[in-house]
Amino acid sequence: MSATGSRERGRPGSRLAVWLGIALALALLPGFRPGFAQDASVRAQADRTRVDEGGQVVLTIEISAANLGDVAPPDVSGIVDFDIVGGPMSSSRFQWINGRTSATKSFAYVLRPRKIGSLTIPPLGLLVGGKTYRTGSIEVEAIPGGGGSPGQRGMPPAQVQRGGPGQPSGPGQFGGAGRLGPPGRAQTPAEPAPQVTVVADVDTRTAYLGQQITLRVLLDTQTEILNLGMKDTPTFPGFWTEEIKLPENLEMRRVQRGTEVYNEYTLMKRALFPTGSGALTVPAMTYQIQVRRRSQDPIESFFFTPTETITRRTEPITIRVETLPVASRPPDFSGAVGNFTLTVNADRKETRVNDAIGIKVKIAGEGNLNAVSSPPLAELSDFKEYAPKVTSSSSVVGERLRGEKTWDYVLIPLAAGAQTIPPVSFSFFDPRAGQYRTVSSGAIPIQVARAADGSVGTGGTFVSQSDVRQLRKDIHFIKQAGDGLADRSRLFYRAPLFMALLVLPVVANLGVYVFTRRRESLHANARQRRERKARSQARRRLKDARRRLSPSTSRAFYAEVARALTEYVAAKFDAAAAGLTHDRIEELLASRGSADEDRREFHRCLEACDYARFAPTSSDDKEMRRSLHAAEEILVRLERSLSA
């Protein structure tokens, strides 16, 4: 600020120009900030390079610059060979020499070697005025023997016990000094090192998957704690974490450790649920604690509150997590670990068709219920079921997480009558007993009356129909009737009877065929014979006719001639002579292709015979001879044409 003041005075001119110039100058000054450090020098030093096992080394980091603002303590996470048992204790110093100011700030840590041998304090990073600086590394040799007594612990180096207030930093700061209950009582005023320890502890180091592990972080102190905070937000990989709320004002307990009396505060409580099996680690947590420092200077003690900030780190904790047994796992187990109760309630026991009833299924108890997802109410065929409203809550009762999960079902009865909500069962793993347990509710009878708008099924009332739903599948039941058990493995088509019956029609029809052929051939032979005999028979008839060739027997004569002619045709065509009419004879003759003339002649001859037979006058001898001759002639001609 003094620089800006001198510029204002040294530049006459208009007010505006002056202010603009100031603004410009401020803007152009690189990194101008109050408390800006120009050319800071950073130095780390240890008070000794050889230390006994259990002894302590004081590490001092000193930052010098012309102008020092807020300087955060260095990052000491790289120190792995030593435990940080105290610090950082910060001090500041200002000097004014010949008009030049210089400021020096130092942080001191008390380190205890973790092992014997050549140890290294690595380069430490430091942020000063927006720039990073690194210290050099320091070699320290730890030699065995002459372990440091508890009284030596936290012995601060004298040269850093001075200066301004420490800078507790980091997120998750707990309540300020005023909220920290009664001030710690100084036990040993002569001892300047504050006795502060931070310990993390769990209630069990072996657990089942999903079982609650309670983590507590305790602070034991013999001095007054003004402020404290965590360096980083704690993370617990492999665990599902639930915070256990602590009271607004940290409670203090007085504990006796050996001869010493400490004030104990619980800094943190967490319920941890392992989500994987095997060895899981609760990582170390680093606390930065601002404590009241005992000052040798009574004036300082009176007018100021001398403080210092110290860092404490808890040890990592390894927890062995076992998987849940597989062999005895119930089929409906859905991952709940703890100890739970199940209640199922219906909001009423009597309802009507289409009037909704509410079923509340509640699982409550000690353990983490977030993993339980499957709705425990089975599907019901006579109710329409809507997706349940799921509510879950958890609370911590006496360090144990209690979960409560509720499924609110709305069921619409679809059928009247005595219905039942079947028992609901829920399985969980009880880690204390080391076994699965199943709790069940009782069945709830629901009396469903017919719908409010009248009886079900009468005309006009609306009935909402739904498909019959298959709830689950199983095989059909066994066959009951044991009557007539028999070997049914014999197959009909393999029986000899089947073959015999298959062959039977073939054989039978073959027989029939042979029989008919034979009969036909016999018949044909008879016809041939008759045909062959036709002419001789006709000749015989004509001979008989000739014998009656006299006018007195003319009728008999003509009958004989007509018979000779008709029987000839009948024999030739294998037909009955009695039924042969003139037309039929014509037909038959035509069918064998005899000439028209022959047929006409035959016809005329036959007509003449008929005429003579039935005429009242008898014929004379001459005419009869002519008729006989004509008959003989036509027969000869027919014989010729039919045989051709």
Binding site: D487, S489, F492, L504, N509
Partner: protein, 256 residues
């Protein structure tokens, strides 16, 4: 003295007969009822052994096979359950329960074998035929066949063109029906005699040849149905409906 001895011997014989009858069921019917009782009391092992005994007597009744398959199903032996459902279906393909249970059991096995798609009319005919027993189809075919034979005989004997024509048409029609019946019977015979086998082991490697040192072509699991195509030295050549084929040891499968 001799009479007393004879009487004693007779009494002893009678006692032993009564004792055996009381001790265990001996007729197929008693065994069937004992098996059913055991099944209802969920003693599925006892039920299965009772049903097995009935089959041991040579009484191969579809109800016994069905109940045995149910017992094996309840015991979790899917392969045996499917085997006996298949055997029951061969004897009585019209039983819906058997078909449903077989479908349910098939749905639980590991392998999913997709069968080739068949056209709708063929599927309808096949479904109808699958519901009929071979004996029924055989009887139907035989009746129609004999009727056709009689018609042909009448046709041979008939005189007169009209009668012959009518008989001819009738014989031809019935002949066609008989032909269809014959085809159906042939299908049923093929179904009943087809060499099929069910995988009984949990997992069976199907090899490229009938020896253990052959390449493993694929793996089938309990309950899968295989077509048996060949047999050689304790090995079956089997194939799946999707034409994958190879050799399995005879002991790992059971023929239907």
């Amino acid at each position: 003295m001799r009479r007393r001895r004879k009487a004693l011997a007779g009494l002893l014989l009678l006692c032993s007969v009564v004792a055996t009858r009381v001790a265990r069921a001996s007729t197929p019917r008693e065994l069937f009822e004992a098996g059913n009782n055991a099944y209802e009391q969920e003693r599925f092992n006892d039920a299965a052994s009772s049903y097995e005994k009935i089959l041991g007597y040579g009484v191969s009744d579809p109800r016994v096979l069905y109940n045995l398959a149910n017992s094996y199903f309840k015991l979790g032996k899917l392969g045996a359950a499917i085997l006996y459902y298949e055997r029951a279906l061969r004897l009585d393909p019209s039983d819906r329960d058997t078909r449903d249970n077989l479908d349910l059991a098939r749905g639980l096995i590991r392998d999913r074998v997709t069968e080739s798609e068949i056209p709708y009319p063929v599927k309808v005919v096949r479904d109808v035929l699958d519901g009929l027993s071979a004996n029924l189809v055989g009887a139907f075919f035989l009746i129609v066949y004999l009727a056709d034979g009689a018609l042909v005989g009448l046709l041979l004997l008939a005189r007169g063109p009209t009668r012959r024509r009518v008989l001819g048409y009738c014989a031809a029609t019935v002949g066609l029906v008989a032909l269809a019946g014959g085809v159906a019977l042939a299908y049923k015979i093929e179904q009943v005699t087809a060499a099929r086998a069910i995988v009984m082991a949990d997992k069976v490697d199907v090899l490229s040849g009938p020896a253990a040192d052959n390449t493993v072509l694929f793996t089938v699991h309990e309950g899968t149905r295989l077509e048996v195509r060949n047999r050689r030295d304790g090995w079956f050549q089997v194939s799946l409906p999707n034409a994958m084929s190879g050799w399995v040891p005879i002991g790992s499968v059971e023929k239907v």
